[in-house]
């Protein structure tokens, strides 16, 4: 099987400051890779660099579309943006960054559909209802503005908005950050269900080891912009080799 996304020797600097250095990643279809590390370790820089939000200084990003392998950093701006709105999806930590707050919930979900040329209002409506149902938001809220939604609902709406065009690769930056524990659990549950059901390939960034353990198959531990350890999720978390990973694992509160 070919990896759907592979990243080789990716570097991103902010002036002299290291954003992330020598990063590698291989993502197979249906796989979830978690990126963990403390605040400031370069997780967000890394995920932004591989998803097209930031332009890395050097490195290679290859995306397998099924027919061809695309060199993500070499393609034209128009093809890149087409990929971003069809094959890729980005779930922001703050759902307000990924949603249009002055457009109704349904309108938010419909944007990607219409940008790939769907022009039948009735069909678009049906797809919206289907996705609201999938993310467990009541159909009756379809015409309400996101600003009337709770934090957890906003995050679920953002997930629906991103998944509606069945993207191949989903990037998530702290999708449960800033939510209370019970809502976090609900979102995680939903994500796990969608990952299985739709066979999604996901790169997820989190500082929360519990989130990663629950969702991820593989894990990359970052510190000071570099990967200090990587491997199968259970293996790394149960038998951490690097001193920093050991520290990270041992600092999780046991309840």
């Amino acid at each position: 099987m070919q990896p759907i996304l592979s990243v080789h020797n990716l570097n991103k600097y902010y002036g002299n400051q290291v954003g992330c250095k020598n990063m590698n990643l291989t993502l197979y279809p249906g796989e979830v890779v978690g990126v963990v590390g403390e605040s400031g370790s370069g997780k967000t820089t890394f995920i932004n660099s591989i998803s097209g939000n930031l332009i890395p200084d050097s490195g290679k990003i290859l995306i397998e579309t099924g027919n061809e392998t695309i060199d993500f950093l070499e393609i034209s701006e128009s093809l890149k943006r087409l990929l971003i709105r069809t094959e890729l999806a980005f779930v922001h930590q703050n759902p307000r960054d990924g949603l249009r707050l002055d457009v109704s919930a349904g309108g938010n979900i419909s944007e990607r559909l219409m940008s790939i040329g769907q022009r039948n209002y009735g069909n678009i409506r049906q797809t919206i209802f289907k996705w609201l149902d999938k993310v467990e938001i009541d159909k009756s809220r379809a015409d309400d503005f996101p600003r009337t939604f709770s934090g957890g609902m906003l995050q679920r709406l953002q997930i629906a908005k991103n998944l509606v065009t069945s993207p191949k690769i989903i990037f998530m930056d702290e999708p449960t950050g800033g939510l209370d524990v019970s809502v976090q659990a609900k979102i995680l549950d939903l994500l796990r269900k969608l990952v299985r059901e739709l066979n999604l390939s996901v790169v997820i960034v989190s500082h929360d080891l519990a989130v990663i353990r629950l969702l991820a198959d593989k894990i990359i531990v970052m510190k000071n912009g570099e990967a200090v350890e990587s491997g199968l999720c259970d293996q790394v978390l149960d038998d951490p080799q690097h001193s920093y990973t050991q520290l990270l694992v041992s600092s999780v509160l046991q309840v």
Binding site: R81, L82, G107, S110, S115, I116, R119, N120, A142
Partner: protein, 293 residues
């Protein structure tokens, strides 16, 4: 100052054109700059060409863009007509017409068929335009995506890459809220199957007239410093959904002066009891129908 003195001394011999101004007010370099923008705009239908808009002797929002475009197109043989919401006799129309009378000593008319340049605020005349006529629109906000995406850099990219999904989001919202597309003016169009364009706040009733029009259509936005254009015989389509097609609706009434069923109507409240009547917004069209009857 010298010019003013010269003008005063020549008071008795001077022609109607005010000689202290250059022909049609703008200096020749400015006109050349605007003509270049106009030619570029005509070559890329619907594309917004930036130009360095000048201060005009009228406030922004009163047609400074349209006036600059008209000035740059005027020749001494032109006959100009100015309308404001279809009418020849409202303040904006009268003052702009007088402006060109004074600064260009040019013939003016109220008859659509006799004008070579028609400057308009928010209407297209009812009478069909012909080849060799120029229609100049006054545009307040040229960017059709402005209300959906406030970042100008981003809208520029969206135009360049034809990323127009968001435009339909607006129409989607309309249908969801009102059961039909509520946008009744400044209804977005696609020009020559490429650029999405704001037709300036004309009623959507006028949208079909832009399509395949034999006249040249020029759009000037003074404050926003943009010029765009539709060359003659260009395809202009209004955006819609398959199951909610574009509908150029108008008030279901007859003009209470000329009785026309076809023209776009203004609603006029006639007393304090809520009585109202409808009359043609295009005054010249209405007058001509009355003269012919």
């Amino acid at each position: 100052m010298n010019n003013v003195l010269k003008f005063k001394n020549k008071k008795n011999t001077v022609a109607a054109q005010d000689e202290i101004y250059n022909f049609a007010y703008l200096d020749e370099n400015t006109k050349r700059m605007i003509r270049r923008a106009l030619i570029k705009a005509l070559c890329i239908p619907g594309y917004q060409v930036p130009f360095s808009s000048r201060e005009m002797p009228m406030p922004y929002g009163w047609g400074t863009g349209g006036v600059q475009v008209t000035s740059s197109c005027l020749t001494t043989d032109d006959v100009i007509k100015v309308i404001d919401q279809g009418a020849d006799d409202t303040t904006n129309a009268v003052s702009i017409r007088n402006f060109f009378k004074k600064t260009a000593n040019i013939k003016t008319t109220e008859k659509t068929s006799q004008a070579s340049i028609i400057q308009t605020r928010h209407r297209i005349p009812e009478e069909k335009l012909k080849e060799k006529q120029i229609l100049v629109y006054q545009v307040p906000i040229p960017e059709p995506l402005a209300f959906l995406e406030p970042r100008y850099q981003e809208t520029k990219k969206m135009h360049a890459l034809s990323e127009y999904g968001i435009m339909h989001v607006k129409l989607y919202e309309d249908i969801t809220k009102n059961g039909h597309i509520e946008t009744a003016y400044a209804y977005p169009v696609k020009t020559n199957d490429r650029y999405i364009m704001d037709p300036s706040p004309i009623p959507k009733f006028d949208n079909p007239k832009m399509n395949n029009n034999p006249a040249i259509q020029l759009f000037g936005a003074g404050r926003e410093q943009r010029i765009y254009a539709i060359p003659p015989y260009t395809e202009v389509t209004s955006l819609d959904f398959e199951d909610y097609p574009f509908d150029p609706s108008k008030a279901p009434h007859k003009c209470s002066i000329c009785g026309s069923n076809e023209s776009f109507l203004d609603e006029i409240i006639t007393d304090d009891d809520g009585n109202r009547s409808f009359i043609c917004s295009d005054t010249n069209y209405c007058n001509q129908r009355m003269e012919n009857n």
